[in-house]
């Protein structure tokens, strides 16, 4: 075994000599470390590169783009696309407004519905707890499908071309309820609730004054998941909205994929463009993608840990 004690002897000698703790003996070799760093680094780069590429493209001028194609180092740099959006970007501003409204209202409603529901079914002394748990979780197993849901929203609730069609179908979700319920059961000890009851608090009072304040991290997690979901949603609008004033951001990006008519015809300043040459279609498209993605791209690093929390908590059992 003498050759195994060599590294240990060397390490302790190193420590004695320099007074510094040597590195973890079980660590990978520096060479492996470099290789892995490069590999993971490249993959990580591939994750952010597409966005950076689109940003670069958005700062190009349309003519150069038509000649050279999408390039990483464009010949010409210009603010043309953004200038166009400043002048004729009413549709985009409108869509921003729609998305913002839908996200705020939707998230607020989601938080309200999910937390109340999850709290109730987390309480063991709720006699009908099993029924309502099943009610929620069965929806994870079976759904009516797209067509019946579409029919309910349009024919029964008459929500076509209403902003509520963008909000209501997405405010409840069995996954959120699982996460929140787990949060409640693991962070609020029964003892606390019992002592509150002894002190004469009502169930509702316990919920609002004791449980909610402790559960803010869980609420934040659901809030962030919900915000992301609403911000990125394009499907509801695709199904239910024709009115230009109610098109959210992501759906707008879909509409302009093939032509820019939608943006131009909905701008209040009717600017006449010499069709083939000056209307900066491709670059404006990319600029719109950049603007639509920027809030998420800038904000997500700060909220990453909440998403991780939600993920790992969802897999913790009661």
């Amino acid at each position: 075994m003498s050759n195994l004690s060599e590294p240990i002897k060397r390490a302790s000698a190193h420590t004695r000599r320099t007074g510094k703790k040597s590195r973890d003996l079980n660590a990978i070799s520096p060479l492996s470390n470099v290789i892995f760093n490069i590999a993971i680094g490249l993959f990580a780069l591939s994750c952010i590169f597409p966005f950076l590429f689109i940003v670069i493209i958005s700062f190009t001028d349309e003519k150069t783009l038509a000649i050279n194609g999408f390039k990483l180092f464009p010949e010409v740099w210009t603010l043309d696309a953004y200038r166009f959006l400043m002048e004729s970007g009413q549709q985009m501003a409108q869509s921003f407004g729609v998305t913002l409204t839908v996200t705020v209202v939707g998230t607020a409603l989601t938080l309200y519905l999910v937390t109340t529901y999850a709290y109730a079914i987390s309480r063991k002394n709720f006699a009908q707890r099993r029924f309502f748990s099943f009610l929620a979780f069965f929806t994870m197993l079976f759904s009516g499908g797209l067509v019946p849901s579409y029919i309910v929203v349009t024919q029964v609730l008459h929500l076509r071309d209403s902003i509520w069609a963008l909000i209501l179908p997405s405010i409840m979700n069995a996954f959120y309820i699982i996460v929140m319920r787990t949060f409640f059961t693991t962070t609020v000890p029964d003892a606390v609730i019992e002592s509150a009851k002894i002190d004469g608090a009502t169930e509702f009072g316990i919920y609002t004054r004791i449980v909610l304040p402790i559960s803010l991290p869980g609420i934040a997690t659901i809030g962030l998941f919900s915000t992301l979901g609403f911000w990125n949603d394009w499907f509801n609008a695709l199904l239910y909205i024709d009115n230009a004033n109610l098109i959210p951001l992501q759906t707008l990006l879909i509409r302009i994929q093939n032509n820019m008519d939608f943006v131009v015809q909905n701008s209040s300043r009717v600017v006449s463009y010499d069709i083939a040459s000056t209307l900066p279609t491709e670059t404006v498209r990319m600029a719109m993608v950049v603007l639509a993605t920027l809030p998420v791209a800038l904000a997500y690093p700060f909220f990453q840990k909440y998403f991780i929390q939600g993920l790992t908590i969802g897999s913790v059992k009661e």
């Binding site: 892995f36 760093n37 929806t139 309910v152 949603d233 491709e282």
Partner: protein
């Protein structure tokens, strides 16, 4: 009867709390479930409104299903759905575990955190945004791929019409979008493994690779199995954005991009064939239900605590 009423009154605080959510479930989840009855009818709009239309439409039993399965479409969409999901599930598992293991070994922890944040970005992007990224590469006149091809003297490829490449594109994109997110769970699990196992192994002369093979992987096995089985339970569902937005709804690519979800969507919005679309949706939900129940049963056999119910 009196007992039930008394129980309800006693729990009225909870019932009030649960009411809004329950109402939502009934309207948006359970009502549509009853609407699947349309799958068994030849649905036509009657002047009396929606309910009239449902009641007055002719009952055709399984005709819609017969029609659905008589076309080659049913086979194509089912095949596509299942194969793509199998690819994404298994390759995704390998990728997520590999990333987690490597990230855990990196010496510079701050750098590892930076990599992780970067790898998380695709998860936050919508498929619409990603379809624009893809377009910047695959655009026929301007895309990077064709630029490179033409630089070397080749002919530009009409990427959005050539079906051969898309299975690879779609799986790679699906993996790329989910890698960062998927690795998190395994990273958390690895962090929870007792260090002394590794130390003991090292003293016994085990190489890093042996340690991974005999300690890390076996300890991750339950988690891997459970997540995989649960994913298989959802094998009939697809990420709509990936299969609809990224190929830009190109008709030429339908044979390789059409999955059950996109088929139902197109049936509803383009062809207006309510009966068959509903039938397809019902087919999807029923098979999905069976799969999830089987999956949960399998998970319960392996690691009881992890079963969802």
């Amino acid at each position: 009867m009196q007992g039930i009423f008394k129980s309800l009154m006693k729990n009225k605080a909870f019932l009030l709390l649960v009411l809004p959510g329950a109402a939502w479930f009934i309207i948006f989840a359970y009502l549509p479930m009853f609407g699947t009855i349309i799958a068994f009818k030849d649905f036509r709009i009657h002047p009396g409104g929606f309910l009239e239309s449902v009641l007055k439409s002719e009952w055709v039993g399984f005709k819609n299903f017969e029609f659905l399965f008589s076309t080659s479409d049913a086979y194509i969409i089912t095949r596509n759905t299942i194969l793509y999901n199998l690819g994404l599930i298994f390759l995704g598992l390998v990728l997520a575990v590999t990333l987690a293991i490597i990230m855990n070994e990196l010496l510079n922890k701050r750098l590892a955190k930076i990599y992780q944040t970067a790898m998380f970005m695709p998860y936050f992007l919508s498929w619409v945004i990603i379809s624009y990224f893809v377009f910047s590469f695959l655009s026929v006149e301007k895309g990077v791929f064709n630029q490179i091809i033409m630089y070397f003297g080749g002919d530009p490829v009409s990427w959005y019409s050539e079906t051969g490449y898309w299975p690879y594109f779609l799986i790679l994109l699906g993996l790329w979008k989910g890698a960062g997110y998927g690795s998190v769970v395994y990273l958390a699990a690895i962090a929870g493994i007792d260090r002394s196992y590794y130390e003991a192994a090292m003293i016994d002369g085990a190489t890093k690779w042996k340690q991974i093979r005999y300690i890390t992987l076996p300890l991750l096995r339950p988690l891997m199995i459970i997540l995989t089985i649960l994913a298989i339970g959802g094998i009939f569902r697809s990420d709509f954005g990936l299969f609809y937005q990224v190929p830009r709804d190109s008709g030429a690519l339908y044979p390789v991009t059409n999955v059950i979800d996109t088929f139902v969507y197109r049936g509803l919005t383009i062809m207006g064939d309510t009966g068959m679309s509903t039938a397809t949706g019902l087919y999807q939900s029923v098979v999905g239900l069976i799969l999830v129940l089987l999956a949960n049963y399998a998970v319960r056999k392996i690691e009881k605590d992890y079963a969802v119910f």
